[in-house]
Point group: C2
Chain length 315, copies 2
């Protein structure tokens, strides 16, 4: 009973890892999430893929349970509810179905919460009781830890900080959720791409980014340009970081965390994104917190963080 | 040991009550906070005022401890730190000084947290584990309860929701804290007075409010006018409620509370303020919470809530 299965379900890939008592991913496998239009066939495929790695650790009798980080996964109900990026719509009783198929107890939470959990167990938040994890990927997610515990809220859906408002004006960007001005519309990979498009097309300045097809500029492209001293690229990070930092100031006013931990693709931009974030946070936070809240990049590699965090759901 | 002393310290009055095991304020006294330029003479005056009511319940041997709700009171350190509206500046070791003078253990928290605590023990939040209390007075304060516990954060200062940003534009109102656009600058009594001044002076519409000196219109005046069908008064509440409601939508995204509880002077405006708040909350919240988060007025009378809540700090 020394191992736990940790599942990191993304809109594209689902990674299943076996985690040992020391928090190491000792074996892993993956399937394509989008290949299965039925949840039952998805779980069958996962089971098939898992069999060889389970044999590697001596069979299912050595596994205590399954923890899964899934988009819109609800810790309380064990269901996936209204996930926009998954093939299965409505309410899917995922924990129950997994538990039946594998013959193991299964707990789920959303992907950002799983990452926060991983960070708390194995990453830079190991000594922390109060921190906020912000995931900067295709969307913007969050996992909030207060007094050493993940915040689930009344219904299990707490921590949707990507959908707090970063712009209350009529000019605010529309968000995928149907609202306007959400932080996600600015600080996600998609948001950065949109900012790049707006700034490049409205600016007369010379920029390396103009050599790229304007609809396909990525945050990686912007990073590469900034590294070469491109002023427009720096302006894109300044814009993004300023919006993110002032939102973080509001999050600090809520739970007074010791640190805010940034996670996901945009972190690869390093100081180009971190510097404006820290500046805007300190410009916008109440004086009592000025200069006192750490902003850190995650200490875990992206592939393992969610698997480890999900595995940590199993007692 | 059946009684507890509960202190509600305000910028103007300090109310000290004796609370029995059933949560009733069985005796109370008060002193003027501003009459004492030294914290020691303030505490001496409090002790003198307390003596007769302590005798009423059989003497100090029947009292277990003191709980105090004080502006900028820190639960962890027992200190009042940088309170703008009190005569004593800097860091005041209030719990320690009280404890020495009364010979009783003393715990403190800030006034909004004390109100939230009172609401949880004796008010409309009795059955709730996740709610947010918003105090709408001279300023805007908040007490956040998650999983049945008050959120203090890393440093004890969590829950400053009055200083989250409600307007990120350059036209945002300055706030007393030195920042711009804080919710407090719009949804406090002072904020409503300022909105009244702005709307009355910029509108050509006939309004009862024009009969009052423009610098002294209060939320009570606006309420009285709205009750008489005054359209400008209704517009003032709409403006205030819309800003408050959309901020509440962001707070919901943080902790997914069962309810938001409004407390303090502005609540006397009843449906005039509640209706636009509820509308703006539901217009701006993620679809999954639409129509699901209760917005309630506090069930406690203002004078008792903080005394009871403070008393609840004593185990």
């Amino acid at each position: 009973m020394n191992y736990v299965l940790g599942l990191d379900m993304g809109g594209t890939n689902s990674v299943l890892g076996i985690v040992d008592a020391e928090g190491k991913v000792v074996a892993r496998t993956s399937i394509k999430t989008q290949d299965y239009s039925q949840i039952e066939t998805y779980i069958d495929a996962l089971y098939l893929a898992a069999e060889p790695i389970i044999r590697e650790v001596g069979g299912i009798a050595n596994i205590r349970g399954i923890g899964a980080g899934v988009p819109n996964g609800n810790f309380y109900t064990g269901c996936i509810q209204q996930a926009m990026n998954l093939p299965w719509h409505g309410v899917v009783p995922f924990a129950e179905l997994m538990s039946k198929r594998f013959g193991l107890p299964c707990r789920i939470t959303n992907d950002a919460n799983a990452a926060a959990m991983g960070e708390m167990r194995y990453g830079v938040a190991r000594e922390m009781k109060d921190f906020i994890m912000i995931t900067l990927g295709t969307g913007v997610g969050s996992g909030i830890v207060i007094d050493g515990k993940l915040v689930y809220g009344h219904d299990g859906f707490a921590g949707e900080l990507g959908h707090t408002c970063a712009d209350y004006t009529d000019a605010a960007r529309p968000c995928n959720c149907g609202k306007k001005g959400c932080l996600e519309a600015y600080a996600s990979a998609t948001g950065v791409a949109r900012t790049a498009k707006e700034i490049v097309s409205s600016s007369a300045k010379d920029t390396l980014l103009r050599q790229l097809p304007i609809d396909h500029i990525t945050s990686k492209d912007v990073f590469d340009a900034a590294e070469k001293g491109d002023e427009v690229a720096k302006q894109i990070f300044d814009y993004t970081g300023t919006i993110l930092g002032r939102s973080l100031a509001d999050f600090v006013a809520f739970s007074a965390p010791e640190a805010i931990i940034l996670f996901g693709g945009l972190c690869k931009s390093g100081h180009w994104i971190l510097d404006p974030v820290v500046r805007a946070l300190n410009d916008n936070v109440l004086p009592l917190w000025r200069g006192k809240v750490k902003v850190l990049f995650s200490g875990l590699n992206e592939a393992d963080a969610a698997v480890l965090g999900a595995a940590a759901l199993v007692e």
